[in-house]
């Protein structure tokens, strides 16, 4: 049995049921009266319904195959430490996007670059400082002079 596939199969199946009975009826907003829509195959929910049915069918296939499978599975994450590194990198990027809204690209980007380079094991400040400072400056001027695009300036400024 392959646990990872089994659990994703179950997750997909649950999603299919939720999508078919809840999302499709509630998240499609008609722009014309219902009686003008014509045969059911032409309605805006036709393709979504077929897609969800196909997704559910494939999820069932995934579950049954995962149960029948005898070969051992490859664990998606062999070491917890590696997952931790990914989570930290993503958390830094996520915080960076929020900081961008407030403080702007020119201020936040050098800090962001320096933190990530440091986290990835670089300890030489003679490399960290120039890269962290020059790359954002280069991008700011490149986009302005090439495409007249202003990178986020921050709502506080």
């Amino acid at each position: 049995m392959r646990l990872a596939d089994l659990s994703t199969g179950v997750l997909f199946l649950v999603f299919s049921v939720v999508a078919y009975f809840y999302l499709i009826p509630t998240q499609i907003v008609l722009s014309i009266p219902e009686d003008h829509l014509g045969p059911s195959a032409l309605r805006p929910d036709f393709l979504p319904r077929q897609t969800v049915l196909l997704f559910g069918f494939l999820a069932v296939f995934l579950i049954s195959s995962a149960i029948r499978e005898k070969e051992p599975e490859d664990a998606p994450w062999t070491e917890r430490r590696r997952l931790y590194q990914v989570v930290v990198v993503f958390a830094v990027v996520f915080l960076y996007t929020y900081a961008l809204e407030l403080l702007g690209f020119a201020i936040v980007s050098p800090v962001f670059l320096a933190i990530l380079m440091w986290f990835m094991g670089l300890r030489e400040w003679r490399l960290i400082v120039p890269v962290a400072l020059l790359l954002p400056v280069f991008l700011t001027y490149f986009f302005w002079y090439s495409f007249y695009v202003i990178l986020p300036e921050g709502s506080l400024f």
Binding site: V29, P39, A59, E69, E71, V86, F112
Partner: protein, 498 residues
């Protein structure tokens, strides 16, 4: 038609257009030379840049990136035994032993010549094949076209990755993401959950950058910290002599064979450069008078692998431009760029935008000698890129991803969307779901829905129209056969396979 070709050639012959191809190739070789960064990722990050240019500048720029990255991947393969792209994996087998013998420079030059020749062959095949195939596809009605899209998607999902079920699930997820936004026929709003960034549908650029670039960055972040911070081993960088002419002459037959193989494989949806390179390499070894030299530092081995993988660059655009069905991830990204520029790939493309397409073809061909010149002159510089530490590259590329997603619509909402897509792509890749079927299905959804509804309008909502029209029925039967054969031929092609 001659007038249109001449008009296209004159449009292409501008300093700006040729310069953009050169810049694209330079960017492609640079990214290709960085171990772990793929051609798909490079193209995805650079797509938004092309939106600021006209089609004559933007599309050739991206095609240059694609070309350049396929050759660029051979540089780290030869120098540090780490392929820059998956397509260059076979190049390591002989390239690295050559570098160890002190012949790094001549090995890179052999890779450059073979890549350029393979690429040129495949560009010519694209130009010769795309037009007649598109003319044939013009005769299709909506039912046939919908069935063709289903068949293309089925082939891609069945042959990409190691599990048919996961390939198909990936495609269905792409279809579902493509349904967000407006229904093309009735104008109904679907699944935007009140989020402004989703009202017009999921943006192509944030999705591409997230799935292909951010997910790759997250995968790179898993490496040992010491490995990220350590400069790569550079002992073989300073490799001696230039390639003797006789060596290239000896390999010409191999280059031609690999070019044919790469072009043929590249034209089949769902395959790609990484498959072509190993088949080209194996065929060259079988046909060689000195098969024992393969794996020990054979120029023929480098030539076979590089000609085959670069011959995919033009060929994978054949189904994209003729039918509007991208055969691989990079082709899907390029198709997105074509659509964003107002050029919808498919049967009508050569009718509606003939001069522009001839200009793009001209620039595609001109890109080959440009790549030769850049590769020849800047080998040393590209070789230096291999030595840059991952701890500097990964954060810098992440910054490019964020900026790329932002400049799409000058909206930080797109950056957040790219990050969400990145995590989604990362999780799927960890679970061995192939991403190309998802992106291809996403791009094809509006076209498929339009064709489906046009066909159903013609038949008053009767779905039997797809089974009574012989060509449409044949395509659908073929789709079923492809799935059945894929499952039958690959015992591991079940859900559990990884």
């Amino acid at each position: 038609m001659i007038d249109q070709i001449l008009e296209g050639i004159s449009m292409a012959m501008s300093f700006k257009a040729i310069g953009m191809v050169a810049i694209g190739i330079f960017a492609g070789i640079t990214v290709g030379a960085i171990p772990g960064l793929t051609s798909v990722m490079a193209t995805a990050i650079l797509v938004p840049f092309s939106f600021f240019m006209s089609p004559i500048l933007g599309i050739p720029f991206l095609l240059g990136v694609h070309k350049g990255s396929l050759f660029g991947g051979s540089i780290p393969a030869i120098l540090v035994n780490t392929p820059g792209t998956a397509a260059a994996a076979a190049t390591c087998l002989d390239g690295y032993p050559l570098a160890k013998k002190g012949e790094a420079r001549s090995a890179i030059q052999m890779a450059l010549y073979s890549s350029t020749l393979g690429d040129t062959f495949s560009d010519i095949a694209l130009i010769v094949a795309a037009l007649p195939l598109a003319a044939l596809a013009l005769k299709f009605g909506p039912a046939e076209f919908f069935a063709l899209l289903v068949m293309g998607l089925t082939i891609i999902s069945s042959v990409t990755g190691r599990s048919v079920v996961k390939g198909l699930l990936s495609a269905v997820m792409g279809l579902a993401i493509g349904l967000v936004g407006f229904d093309a026929v009735s104008g109904a709003e679907r699944f935007h959950f009140g989020i402004p960034n989703l009202e017009g549908g999921v943006g192509l650029v944030p999705l591409l950058i997230g799935l292909f670039a951010v997910s790759e960055i997250l995968i790179q972040s898993e490496k040992e910290i010491a490995e990220l911070a350590r400069p790569p081993e550079t002992a073989h960088l300073h490799g001696g002599r230039s390639l003797p002419r006789g060596e290239l002459r000896k390999c010409m037959r191999t280059i031609l064979r690999s070019s044919v193989i790469g072009t043929f494989i590249g034209a089949i949806p769902g395959t790609g450069a990484s498959i072509a390179t190993f088949i080209g390499y194996a065929s060259a070894k079988r046909a060689s008078k000195h098969p024992e030299e393969f794996g020990q530092g054979s120029y023929e081995g480098v030539a076979a692998a590089e000609a085959a993988n670069s011959a995919v660059a033009g060929a994978d655009l054949i189904p994209t431009l003729a039918f509007g069905i991208p055969g691989a991830a990079t082709a899907a990204i390029l198709m997105g760029a074509f659509i964003a520029q107002g050029l919808r790939p498919g049967p009508g493309l050569f009718q509606e935008h003939a001069p522009t397409m001839y200009a793009i073809f001209t620039l595609l061909l001109l890109g080959n000698p440009i790549m030769l010149i850049e590769g020849w002159l800047l080998t040393g510089m590209f070789a230096r890129i291999v030595t840059i530490r991952q701890s500097i590259l990964v954060p810098s590329i992440l910054l490019f991803c964020i900026v790329g997603a932002y400049i799409f619509q000058n909206d930080l909402g797109d950056v957040k969307l790219a990050l969400i897509a990145g995590v989604f792509g990362y999780l799927l890749r960890k679970m061995n779901y192939p991403l190309p079927p998802m992106v291809i299905a996403f791009i094809l959804t509006p076209m498929a829905e339009r064709s489906l509804k046009q066909a159903l309008l013609l038949s008053d909502g009767d779905i039997s129209i797809f089974f009574v029209r012989p060509i449409a029925a044949a395509f659908l039967v073929l789709s079923a056969v492809v799935i059945a054969v894929s499952v039958w031929r690959r015992p591991w092609a079940t859900a559990g396979a990884v």
